[in-house]
């Protein structure tokens, strides 16, 4: 008896459902058909991506403007003949790195290093291709052959010398200490117990650690590291950091932008260093060409003209 009631109730429910389904607008049926079509199209595309992956491997090798073939570099040959043949040099730079190489408001890459490089290759009838790279990947990009040189405020250090061949130094630089104008810090000794900020991975950090006993006196026993110099400066301005250590060239640029009256540069610094241009170790010819052209530019005053354009007050 009980079962019978359940059954009929169930059937009634089913009839309702069926009626409701029948009454559904045609549109929904169409929509579901469309979904089916969509899925089929997507499946076809999915197979497409697999074949595309295969194809782009070939096209990558054929597109000389971007990535050059791996063999070119791993063979260890001087690639100067190849560069001459194709008529252009690829310069790798971090396009966030004002004022050495960065993008202006028209999205054009400009800067001191860019102007220098343009002049150098102009004199040698080679075209200059600017390739933005991630700065932490610079040596990998160079040795993979994606770029022919690193030229972007690239400080010469012993570690980097092991991976790349450096040009002659073309610009001297100091690691200066900057504080707010009203700060009571006047010497390195005054940094004791203070928060000192710098850009992570920059040579400012290396320079500080050449004097480990000074670093040990900082608040926290180490510098506070930021992604960019700009952030280090903002931290200084917010009053969380007491001093910033940075490349003089970069620091002067920021100080000029933010207002010279706000900052104080200490007379003491964390040492001198020099900027160079990094090449693959086997690319001696390109290195010599750049060195000799830069020498010529120094003699005829072009170098100073470019320097004054970017750094004169």
């Amino acid at each position: 008896m009980k079962i019978g009631i359940d059954k009929s109730a169930l059937t009634l429910y089913h009839i309702k459902v069926i009626k409701r389904l029948r009454n559904k607008r045609k549109g929904e049926e169409e929509m579901r058909n469309n979904i089916t079509k969509l899925i089929l199209i997507m499946l076809i595309l999915a197979f497409g991506v697999v074949s595309l992956a295969g194809c782009s491997n070939q096209t990558a090798n054929q597109a000389p403007s971007q990535t050059s073939n791996q063999e070119e570099t791993s063979a260890g040959e001087d690639s100067f003949e190849k560069i001459k043949e194709r008529g252009y040099v690829i310069m790798g730079l971090d396009d966030t790195f004002a004022p050495m190489g960065f993008r202006d408001e028209n999205n054009e890459i400009v800067g001191f290093d860019v102007d220098l490089a343009k002049e150098v290759f102009n004199r040698n009838d080679l075209e200059l291709v600017l390739q933005p790279i991630d700065w932490t990947m610079k040596e990998a990009e160079l040795n993979a052959g994606n770029i022919d040189m690193i030229w972007n405020g690239y400080t010469i250090t012993a570690e980097r010398r092991e991976k790349v061949a450096f040009s002659k130094p073309y610009l001297k630089n100091r690691q200066i200490i900057i504080t707010l104008a009203d700060s009571d810090i006047n010497s390195k000794a005054d940094l004791e117990g203070k928060k000192v900020a710098a850009q992570a991975g920059s040579t400012a950090v290396d320079a500080m650690y050449t004097e480990p006993d000074v670093v040990a006196t900082f608040d926290g026993g180490e510098p506070v590291l930021f992604d960019t110099n700009n952030e280090a400066f903002m931290d200084l301005e917010a009053g969380r950091s007491d001093a910033v250590v940075a490349d003089e060239v970069l620091a002067r640029y920021y100080i000029k932008l933010k207002g010279e009256e706000k900052y104080k540069v200490l007379s003491e610094d964390f040492g001198d260093e020099e900027y160079g241009i990094g090449f693959r170790k086997q690319d001696k010819k390109l290195l010599e060409l750049v060195d000799s052209t830069l020498d010529a530019m120094r003699k005829d005053g072009t170098f100073d003209a470019i320097y004054n354009k970017w750094f004169a007050d």
């Binding site: 499946l43 595309l45 999915a46 497409g48 992956a53 491997n57 966030t96 933010k258």
Partner: protein, 214 residues
């Protein structure tokens, strides 16, 4: 200020272009691939299931940034060289297909066994069963999770900076470094918010359309 913003916008919009193209290409390829990954996992072919599980483990188990770096700098060592842009698309598609695959698998598995029985009784072939019964219902179930993933993708596109591609966030950082100002980054934030708002609305509309049982 308005003047400064109008001078910033062209560079930011150029960055947005890359962001959007990476975003759309990734979606177009990774969703279908994700369905294949889901079906592969649910298949009866043991080796295929194992391959899919391994693939998902690798893709979900390592940072996307690392995968991009590996494809761009690692693969050339064994002679496979991709250009910058294809590298970014390939890495994103492979990564997101793994996540989508898991979402779709969950969606398919949440459909009652009775539906398969009913389809069989009604004489549907297995292909037709998936096509007309299982997948349409799956789409309805997975929509909120897919929306989540898609919105994450918009922001993940910023990772292409590692192969030197200039996208929206990088364009903002460049301007911020150049002008020693936070304004470009605030603008970038607003642009991302607008993108997310558009996507959220679109998915809400989709969900409404699929809510035919309510």
């Amino acid at each position: 200020m308005v003047d400064y913003i109008s001078r910033l916008m062209p560079a930011l919009l150029a960055g947005l272009d890359t962001t959007l193209s990476v975003f759309f290409l990734t979606l177009v390829f990774s969703i279908p691939l994700g369905i294949l990954v889901a079906l592969g996992q649910l298949s009866n072919i043991k080796p295929l299931v194992a391959v899919m599980k391994f693939y998902i483990w690798v893709m979900r188990g390592t940072p996307l940034l690392l995968q991009i770096v590996f494809i761009f700098f690692g693969l050339p060592i064994i002679g496979i060289t991709f250009d910058r842009y294809p590298t970014a698309i390939l890495a994103f598609v492979l990564n997101y297909a793994a996540y989508f695959g898991e979402i779709f698998r969950g969606g398919i598995e949440s459909i009652d066994k009775g539906q398969y029985d009913a389809a069989k009784v009604l004489g549907f072939t297995p292909v037709k069963t998936y096509q007309r019964i299982i997948l349409p219902q799956m789409i309805k179930i997975v929509l909120p999770s897919v929306a989540n993933e898609v919105i994450t993708l918009v922001k993940d596109t910023a990772l292409v900076y590692v192969v030197g591609l200039g996208e929206l966030l990088r364009a903002g950082k460049i301007a911020s470094n150049r002008d020693a100002s936070l304004v470009p980054l605030i603008l970038v934030g607003i642009i991302y918010l607008v993108l997310t708002a558009v996507l959220t609305t679109a998915f809400q509309k989709l969900e409404d359309r699929y809510s035919y049982y309510q």
